[in-house]
Symmetry: C2
């Protein structure tokens, strides 16, 4: 269900980088094909992990957001980022420091930001 190359990346970047449109994913991921991105977004919607709603200020756009089920993946992604940071010298060091210093606080912070974006 999340066992492919892109789904977890999409979720990670919605959580940690605030991505919420097709264009942001498309420009960010080198090598992702348009049809695959569309397919993954639709599947994530179908699985109930993300939701989409039209952007009222530009009706061409769709805004994607994490559902409660998606937000519950925050601990999974956090542990993944920590593991990668420990073993693969990659990623945002400031973020990793934040995760390590107070994991509970970090998790709650991300959850709250997701919820805010969803309502705003």
């Amino acid at each position: 269900m999340l066992g492919d190359r892109w789904s977890l990346l999409i979720i990670r970047d919605m959580m940690l980088r605030g991505f919420h449109t097709y264009k942001e994913f498309m420009e960010c991921y080198e090598g992702i094909a348009t049809n695959i991105l569309a397919d993954r977004l639709h599947k994530l919607v179908a699985y109930g992990i993300i939701a989409s709603k039209p952007d009222l200020s530009d009706r061409r756009k769709l805004i994607y957001s994490l559902t409660a089920k998606g937000i519950d993946l925050v601990p999974v992604l956090t542990e993944m980022v920590l593991w990668a940071a420990a073993h693969e010298k990659t990623g945002n060091q400031a973020l990793v420091r934040q995760m390590k210093s107070d994991k509970r606080k970090f998790l709650d912070g991300v959850r709250q930001q997701c919820a805010l974006r969803d309502r705003g």
Copy 2:
């Protein structure tokens, strides 16, 4: 790197079910092809997540074990199992209860068992 259908399953079952031979994976996963299993095991060895050594009591066999890097994935897999249990009504309920009641203790227990198997 872990973004495929089988790699995380293999790691999960080495951690939580004590799998350590080719045959165990082959018999357990409905639908995995022999070439794909061999490929994934080799890649996991190449990535330094698992290691293999010959079984001294039957020299046809290879025994796979998690490396330190692999054992560090325990928190990731644990969070995944918890997420799946919360949202997908699947999996070992006893295990999930254990994870929830004292996560720290559970993590240490799994790490210790992996280390024991590796030495034994």
